[in-house]
Subunit: 354 residues, 4 copies
């Protein structure tokens, strides 16, 4: 009953099967194989426009490599203060860009607000040598708070960005969950809204280790291949990355997986909202839910064998629960029942446990 993250899961059966199938025979290395050749047309279909696709194995690599073609070493990249690229990648964007600066913005529910972006860009000192130069905006979709940007929200942010000649990047580690949640087309959430490059996550949503860097802005793609190679992210047996990605978008697997995860998160949220002392921190719009609850409830749940990351606050604990493509309804039900038990019926005394 592991709700710690969607990366605690294994691989979707469809993707495992694709890996086995791709293992037949020999194939030329480094992307000169038939699987990799199929990525371009199939992703172009999916996104309803001509795209260039580069497979890589991790989300950090996808993000950092993409930012390295968007920002010069003296550039500024704007992102939410809680963005994964800012807090959880040990400085990967700084490494890949040669020292560009992440400039963070606040924003409730994990989202950058258009006026905040406009304001910081107006004061950024573009053209003045003393200051890092505005280069890119990075949006996380779904956000680190489990919310999603609507197409309109992305378009508004992208318009501000474009007005200041910035590129727009999407860290889409959970992009599938956002698409499934909004029910809109991938195109509407990306290039039609002004996005230049999408890092489309697959690993958290059923792949073994695969992410697709999808360029809508072809000019930005020009040096990506060299950068991928020199960072050690060009796989010799590339067919095994590409096969994962092909299976991922085949028959809407990515959306079916995401939809299941989203529904499990909804179910979790509905099950715990209203319990005494339990507070939902953000709207549940994807596959993550954040809840504040009494410290003792958190401890008891952990003691019961539920896995999740707790963060101790002043008077309570905030926990994150993540549902995945294969989270079972039974696990969700078990969690809800345990939460109900600990919040409603109180806690066993130390003695009774002994």
């Amino acid at each position: 009953m592991n709700f710690a993250s969607d990366n605690v899961t294994g691989v979707s059966p469809e993707i495992m099967a694709a890996l086995s199938a791709a293992n037949a025979g020999t194939a030329m290395p480094y992307g000169q194989d038939e699987y990799t050749q199929r990525l371009q047309p199939q992703f172009s279909d999916l996104f309803e426009t001509e795209v260039t696709v580069f497979p890589v194995a991790t989300g950090s690599a996808a993000n950092a490599l993409t930012l390295s073609v968007m920002a010069p070493p003296f550039g500024a990249i704007y992102c939410h203060a809680r963005a994964h690229i800012n807090t959880d990648e040990c400085g990967a964007p700084e490494f890949y860009t040669g020292g560009a600066k992440l400039v963070t913005l606040p924003g409730s529910e994990g989202k950058i607000q258009t006026p905040d972006l406009a304001d910081v860009l107006t004061r950024a000192g573009a053209g003045v040598v003393h200051y890092v130069q505005p280069a890119a905006v990075s949006l996380t979709q779904a956000t680190e708070a489990g919310t999603v940007y609507t197409p309109d929200q992305i378009r508004a942010l992208a318009e501000v960005a474009k007005r200041h000649s910035l590129y727009v990047h999407i860290d889409g580690a959970r992009f599938a969950n956002a698409v499934a949640s909004l029910g809109c087309s991938p195109a509407d959430l990306t290039w039609r809204a002004g996005v230049d490059v999408l890092c489309l996550g697959a690993t958290k949503n059923g792949a073994m280790a695969a992410e697709a860097v999808v360029f809508f802005n072809q000019t930005l793609a020009q040096t990506f291949g060299y950068r991928r190679k020199r960072s050690g992210h060009l796989f010799s047996k590339m067919r095994f990355l590409s096969a994962q990605l092909l299976a991922y978008i085949n028959n809407d697997l990515w959306l079916r997986n995401a939809d299941h995860a989203n529904r499990m998160a909804q179910k979790l949220a509905q099950g715990v909202v209203g319990l005494p002392g339990v507070k939902l921190c953000y709207p549940v719009e994807a596959n993550e839910i954040f809840i504040e609850l009494p410290d003792a409830v958190s401890s008891s749940l952990l003691a019961d064998g539920f896995s999740f990351y707790p963060r101790k606050g002043a008077n309570s604990t905030t926990i994150r629960l993540v549902a995945a493509f294969n989270t079972s309804e039974a696990d969700v039900t078990a969690f809800i029942e345990a939460a109900r038990r600990y919040t409603c019926e109180g806690f066993p005394s130390v003695e009774s446990k002994a």
Copy 2:
């Protein structure tokens, strides 16, 4: 009949099975799983000493990350002029080290010679701020010429290196082939001979995408984890890297695979040596053979559907043939027969082909 490289192959059945087995259930991410936990003791057993092991997915990543803990940005790394790190990684070592310099050495049969290393180090200007500072020596085992360093040769080079306070790195993309060829213990070829870190390749020898960075020098391992993370090479679903590596060394799979490849290379060499106009370039000590042959023979073989990389010279063509863990004897026989046919019986005229 693909002899282009050992990376045109797929995955060993044993490793594919290990990936399937590892897919059961959930596992904590980023190496906090049971597979990754088993690497340390099992590789320590294999190398007969306490080692620290970091799995990564590509050889370039393994090499560049390792060099980044061995050399400061102002450091010099000594390697053979034909070393993969110098010629085929698009500057990965320079990227990861923050700009260290590869200083190349000549050497017949792909091997650095001890006197050459001693000479260049004596003249390197250690301690003088104008010069990049000697930091590490990188040896490729098996070499880019398909030869292998003996334990004595490595020890002699390492002694020179140590005398000048340099670290010793082995790019072991084909280390298994060297061990299988020499019949010595992995320990004798590494730490007992003075090696600090081995990048042990698995991908070319039957893995899907997995390499083990094996630290004999524990001090050097201290910052590796941060560097791996910030370069995007820390896998969330790490168990799938570790499972490959465990299966790789289990029941000597790595040596059995390498031994087969080596034998196929020997067979190829024996089959073509002595054919008219055919010259073996280097001793065949691992799984690669380099032969010089008439241009027309090379062209005819390619036209017949044999895959390999030719390099056109002044009056002839040099081709590289690489045997892999699953190269069939039938393919080898077919190649030898075709080579014999084209060299001994002459070539069909253009007309007869039409």
Copy 3:
């Protein structure tokens, strides 16, 4: 009547004379000259301990080079949000460190507060690979608000830093003004309070272009020479940098210059405090004063030929006035009188100006 910065001034006569004197004869390059050789003993005397001194020409170079020996590429450097290294060096620390991250702290009057530092370090995730690793604290002395840290304040911050194994750096572009203001010894403000390296500014205080990087922590000095060279900051005719620095500390020139500047700033502050609509933003403890005044007053003063940097706020303008080693009392008096005239007597109408 230029109060824009202390870098609008020229060179102290004593330093100009030293440059002329140093021009006699030949001298071996790159610091093998007698001037440079005298730095070590003379600065050791000044700081009452054995120090290692490296001359460089700019403050940004001094700071960035120093941070590069304090923080690994995956490191975190803590500084005030308004620190020059964070806002005005176009990412120099990120460049020199290979991508370390500046983590900013708030703090009234330009000073980091000890509890804030302690708090952020407790939550920094030392030892966890996902996070940049705490490496150094950088304090600006005098601060960007024209205030100064007392020895006790520095010691308290350094103690927190040491508890977490961080190095302590002082950006001392205006360190002379702080020493002159506090009347304490340079030793008390640095190594006795726990400082590892001081970047001692001279350029703003009468030099042509010279800063001394003063290492109290000798271990940190080991690679500085290579880093200075490879960044192009090792001067061939080094004697001209060293001669400036020797003249700077000779006969307390640095403190006399700073003391004059401080007094002029005090006089400015006393002259404008109490004027209608004028508000002093921070205590005036060094050679900078920040005042908030009506927009029209700021505009009128600029129109009168006074130079300073204004920052437009919602209902008023904040201006910074910087006094230098050669700011004349007459200029200060003229400024005060003009400010009094515009604030007390009102403003000429647009018509009367025409």
Copy 4:
């Protein structure tokens, strides 16, 4: 009697006077001063075309910054094996470019040969992700062997470079000596021959510390300002750099200084050629001469107080003598006489010295 380098000299009187003159009054910082404003038109006049000029203080900074706008991190920069950027800058080009690779070419008399450049570029693998990508050629003028490229030689090399879309850089630490030697116009030696950027040295030829980065290719200049700032090479009191450069080209001071140095080198060469056991290594075309002589002669000259850098060979010693703008004829004569004495009359026995 110091022939060790042209950087052992002090400052030309004309430049010292210019520094004093520039010290009057205040001036806005960072290049917003009248001296810096005059650089653009005056250097455009000198080079007979519109140029963009950036002053920096050292040659290493000039070169490395320039290369950083010419080559991406995955780029290859072609230069002579003995080029200063390759051997004497502790990896500065690698640092500034973020890890680009210097690919060295041989060449007698310190010059790259056109066929060699053409050959290496043909085999460089442009467009292949495994290889660093050809980006720039760097020529040293005058060369490290004291020879000069003619306009025709530069044009031929630049044509090869342009055919492969490379930029052409000149490391002109001794460019003045080349112009004075060839008697051609600066334009003929640079942009008319296909040069994109010239790093025009002044420090070795009479300045205190000043070099002009002269952009003929304006597009390349676009990001230079940010890179200069973030590397700490933007001087606050910029007028003192610019004043040196203005005085340097005023009234042909740069050429007069260089011409004197060249003549002294010629005189030295003529004086020692033909002495027994003395061999001139290269044609003397600028202000450096390289001579091979018996070890004992070298030792005796050093013992007599002549300064120069000797390099011990198998059976003799090669010494470099550098003449400067203020090398006196008397010193030259003294050297020649001493050399004649030691080569012709033999050496005092050990006893007679006692």
